[in-house]
Amino acid sequence: MDLLEYQAKELFRGIGIPVLPSQRIDRPKDLKGLTIPYPVVLKSQVYIGGRGRVGGVRFVENTIDAVAAAQTIFNLPIMGEYPKALLAEAKYDADQEFYLAVVLNRSIRRPVLLGSQQGGIDVQAAMDQMQHVVVEQEFSPYYARRLALKMGLQGDLMISVAGILEKMYQLFIQKDLDLVEINPLGVSPSGTVMALDGKVTVNDDALARHPDLAAILETQDKTAFEPLTELPVAMEADGQIGILCNGAGLTMATMDLICQAGGKPASFLNIGGETQWNSSSNILRQRLERGLELMTQTKQVRVLLVNLVSSLIPCDEIAGVITAFLKRRIREPRGVSEIRPDTLIIHTLRIPQLVVRLVGSECDRAKARLADAQVTIADTLDDAVAQTIVLAKSVTRDS
């Protein structure tokens, strides 16, 4: 999960990476309380890169200009994203701009230090000169010097840049990050360095052991979050098919088959594989219940393909969860007393057609249990996909 620039810079400041004096601006009038002397840079705080090219960064000389510029930036969507905050920062005269990063490389399975003397907005120039150093064994500062030298630096500037890299690496390890990036690192004519923009990606799996990061992220705009695996992922706007599976590979394979067969997925949901240490049939049952709930709440989903391959929970238990869910959804939508006849109808209509394919133990008993429910039962994955497509076509025709 990414941090916003101002959040990343808080981490930089804490670890001793030099950043300019700055203030978060939540609304234009906050600029009246600005304690940083003008000229000041106002920067849109969005997750998308390249804001500078589209007007998300403005230099201002006084409060009147600043308030006006802030209004403009607050109203400027960047790739569809409106900023919730701006960062007002002192202006810095950089002589050169470098690119620096620490990233976990999955092929090498080691952290890698990256650096280029050509930082800033010209991505291609940075790439052309990019140097890297793999942190093969335990980190020690000589890895940072190795990169700074490979970047072509020498003398005091080599030492300063290596010092920044060392602190970036400390941050990377201390906070379990996926990425720490400074772009650009401004170099003044006198050779002092300054992190002018920064990006930090926290690792989702490690977040629970970093309450400080979790707290930062909780204050963030929730809608900007990458969807958690427990929430359905929306696909095509005109899709009608929902896909509910257990396990990432199975979910992807199932969706691939639907698309290959000409179906249009509206959304999919992976209720999780079976490698969670605390998995039990109870937990999987709860996840399935919640998954059915979520996938049937989306009006767009007209046909729901449930494809579960389970080792942990017998198929007849899964079938039991499905039939119980269907009964609850059709007969007792909330408290009956609250329901007006029209909502009841809408509600019943909303339940998508279910195609259920279960593999595991007790499959025959599962089929028997599902026989009376209004679901289509499939034996093989191919069969389930075919049935789903047929139903989706008939639904589309009907509507």
Binding site: G49, A101, V103, L104, R106, S107, R109, P111, V123, M127, D176, D178, L179, K199, N203, D204, D205, A206, A208, R209, E226, P227, T229, V233, M235, C245, N246, G247, A248, G249, L250, T251, M252, A253, M255, D256, L257, I258, C259, Q260, P265, N270, G273, E274, T275, Q276, W277, N278, S279, S280, I283, L308, V309, S310, S311, L312, V359, G360, S361, L381
Partner: protein
């Protein structure tokens, strides 16, 4: 590698929910599960498997151990694996999902220094059909035979094992290297193991989007593998930049905004096709391609 049926196996996290479920299943399948470890539970037993507080106590009591299968919570995996290595265990299977990747980096540095094979994390482990289960594969989907099945998935692996079994194609082994971005054993390592394994005649490699393991595998197959290999890639229609549930199954740029996309299905399929490796369009096509590779009759 020593995954023979008499391998002496330890289960770390035997008192955790998943470990407690699979310990008796592993034992019932014939695995020589000699001990379990769960700190605080020393002295107890589970289905007549003795439980110890420490790996070293288990080793001191029941003797040397070949393989440990680890079911502990995510933030305890590194410690459990280091404990196993310190006790002289050289094969470790990590089942647990959610281990922080930098813990894995630390573990891999230690594993390389001690020549320890790490499988996983976020892996259902290894099954040698009819002989032993080192993890959570549903045994009823597998049958002994000559197809070596390697993958990055859990349930999708079971699905394909079932397709093979239903087509009359038994398996020599089923192994998942794990769904995370940073995993221990690699496709090339397993390809080499299966290439040398007398029981394996053909290899089925089940890949998915994210990373470049499949590209590395295709390259390695072209260079070094004599046995036929069939590939399948899941995730051709997966949206970009979205977590699919496997930490590793994501298409992204390694560096924010820099560099080209890494890990697309097309890149992987192209790599296999360039290496002249048949790529199945769908799971159900795999048995046919296997039969073709083995020059078996094609009726299902």
């Amino acid at each position: 590698m020593n995954f023979r049926s008499d391998s002496r196996v330890l289960l770390q996290g035997i008192a955790e929910p998943l470990g407690a479920i699979y310990a008796p299943l592993m034992k019932a399948y014939g695995t020589n599960l000699v001990a379990g470890v769960s700190p605080g539970h020393g002295g107890q037993t589970l289905h007549r498997i003795p439980i110890f507080d420490l790996v070293e106590t288990a080793v001191a009591t029941v003797g040397a151990i070949d393989t440990s299968v680890i079911f502990v919570p995510p933030y305890a995996v590194l410690d459990a694996a280091l404990e196993a290595i310190a006790a002289g265990i050289h094969q470790i299977v990590l089942i647990t999902d959610g281990m922080p990747p930098l813990d894995m980096v630390t573990l891999l540095r230690k594993a390389e220094a001690t020549e320890t094979l790490i499988v996983g994390p976020n892996s259902p482990g290894i099954i040698v059909p009819g002989q032993m289960l080192l993890g959570i594969h549903p045994v009823e989907f597998y049958t002994p035979g000559s197809v070596g099945l390697i993958s990055r998935s859990g349930t999708l692996t079971y699905e394909i094992a079932l397709e093979l079994t239903q087509a009359g194609l038994g398996q020599s082994i089923g192994v998942s290297i794990g769904g995370d971005a940073i995993v221990g054993s690699s496709f090339p390592q397993w390809l080499q193991i299966l290439d040398e394994d007398d029981n394996t005649e053909v290899i089925v490699l089940v890949g998915e989007i994210g990373g470049d393991s499949e590209e590395a595998a295709a390259h390695y197959i072209a260079e070094a593998i004599d046995k036929p290999v069939i590939a399948y890639i899941a995730g051709q229609t997966a949206p970009k930049g979205r977590r699919m549930g496997h930490a590793g199954a994501i298409i992204d740029s390694q560096i924010a905004e820099l560099g080209t996309e890494i890990g697309t299905a097309d890149s992987k399929i192209n790599a296999f096709e360039r290496a002249k490796i048949p790529v199945a369009r769908r799971p159900s096509q795999i048995p046919d391609l296997v039969k073709k590779a083995l020059k078996l009759p094609m009726k299902r």
